[in-house]
Amino acid sequence: MKKKQYISAILLVFSSFIALATDVTIKDEKKSADLKSEIKAYIRHHLEDTHDFSIGSYTTDDGKKKYIGFSLPVILWDDGLVTFSSGKLKHGKAVHKVGPKYYKLYHGKIYRTDAEGTISYDANKKVINYKPLDLSMTKSVVTMLFTAALMFFMFRSLANSYKTNGSIAAGVGRFFEPIVLYIRDDIAIPNIGEKHYQKYMSYLLTIFFFIWFLNILGLSPLGINVTGNIAVTFGLALLTFLITNLTANKNYWAHIFWMPGVPVLMKFVLAPIELLGVFIKPFSLLIRLYANIQAGHIVLMSLIGMMFIFNNWLGSSLSFVLAFIISIIEVLVALLQAYIFTILSALYFGFAVEEH
């Protein structure tokens, strides 16, 4: 009986999607040729960080594009601090005047323009307008702040529950405590060693949950893509790089510059390779996380887009099923990538403090 209910629920969801798909095509009959490029543009837009928090947009009958969401503060450094709401930029359709300067949003970036908002290009079709230092609280920044606050309150409550509940986790902490233990017992201790693991625990726990939560949020319908942003993964990898090299012992540096136990000639050959490895390790971290999350989002959005391109029962249903399966896999990938980032960081820390 229950199974039947599930099936009918799924069918209901299916049929509504199909109905939506047909609805869209009827309306945009003329544009159907452009559908593919529109989806492509939409995906590209989704992957980028934006200056406002909008979860979707629609076109009204009189041809105006409306956005569902809210504006975020724009913070620029242009010979002094310049701040205004991103709503003033009207998604790139308006030029905002601050004092004597004009600003325009163009392909996700804010440029200084003239009163008409002219964007000039050079021979390689690159924008040559002056680009002020953009420290805006973008969608990604807001998401990260939200995640940070969520993590803080969640783990603070876990920490407090030990005091109030006689050393036993209570509430949501019951779910997270085994994960904290797993990171300690199966990631930190085996890779770093009993002696030194403690000083790295805070970092490993923080990045694991930070990446995991952001990955999961990226799969929510809010259209967030934080860990698929190269600046974010670069920042995370940079921290791993800095911690590895700043806490490294003599032995670690000896293995890089003067490899013990090999002929002198080999020492000279190995030194540059090992030195390169110091940078390649965190670089692989940043690329791995970025590429996995980015690729996941592209695949998932393409499959969802295919439902509208196929526009028939069979193709759209198949695309839906495929998108559904990929979504489940992406949930796994979200956890896996957080795990890989953490375990590799732990491994690099282990190299840094290894003793012989």
């Binding site: 980028e48 960080d49 913070i75 230092l133 953009d134 420290l135 805006s136 609280m137 973008t138 990604s140 920044v141 990260m144 702040l145 940070a148 993590m151 803080f152 783990f155 603070r156 876990l158 920490a159 407090n160 030990y162 005091k163 050393s167 036993i168 405590e177 904290v180 233990l181 300690r184 403690q198 625990m201 805070s202 970092y203 726990l205 923080t206 990045i207 930070f210 942003n229 190269i230 600046a231 974010v232 670069f234 920042g235 995370l236 940079l238 921290l239």
Partner: protein
């Protein structure tokens, strides 16, 4: 690569670094340290509880062994006591018997002595009576046959012979 660099937003990088470092420091102070300490304390508690349970079991076993030993000792002591009591009883009986025997012997001896002395006294008395009787007889005889010396001596001889006891 150029596309990647184009995507790189310095502002986001700055924000991200500040957020993560801030979060790291905050969580380290308010969450991770207390959480890990609490877990460590709990594990330590469990370990010590297990250890003390093990100790208690060992102690229990010791106690049991002790009890067993004490019980055995008590039983042995009881057996000893009983045996001793039995021995004492036997000894008392034997002693009593011995004493009774000696006493009986003594009494017998005394009795024998008394009998002997009585007998002596009786004999003495008898002898006296015999003597007096003899004198009487002699008187009588003498009264009859004093005339005949031979007969007289014969008579005395005969009398004496009869008197020999």
């Amino acid at each position: 690569m150029e596309k990647l660099l184009g995507e790189f937003s310095f502002g986001l990088f700055i924000w991200q670094t500040f957020i993560v470092v801030g979060l790291l420091l905050l969580l380290r102070k308010f969450a991770w340290t207390p959480i890990l300490n609490a877990i460590n304390d709990r594990e330590e508690g469990i370990r010590s509880a297990l250890q003390s349970a093990e100790d208690a079991r060992a102690e229990m076993q010791n106690l049991q062994a002790d009890n067993e030993r004490i019980f055995k000792e008590a039983r042995a002591e009881r057996d000893g006591l009983l045996k001793e009591a039995r021995e004492i009883k036997q000894k008392m009986i034997d002693d009593a018997k011995d004493e009774a025997k000696t006493q009986a012997a003594q009494i017998m001896m005394q009795a024998q002595a008394a009998i002997e002395s009585e007998k002596q006294a009786a004999v003495a008395e008898l002898k006296q009576q015999v003597a007096s009787l003899s004198i009487e007889i002699a008187e009588k005889v003498t009264k009859e046959t004093l005339a005949d010396d031979k007969k007289q001596s014969q008579l005395v001889q005969k009398l004496l012979k009869d008197v020999n006891l």
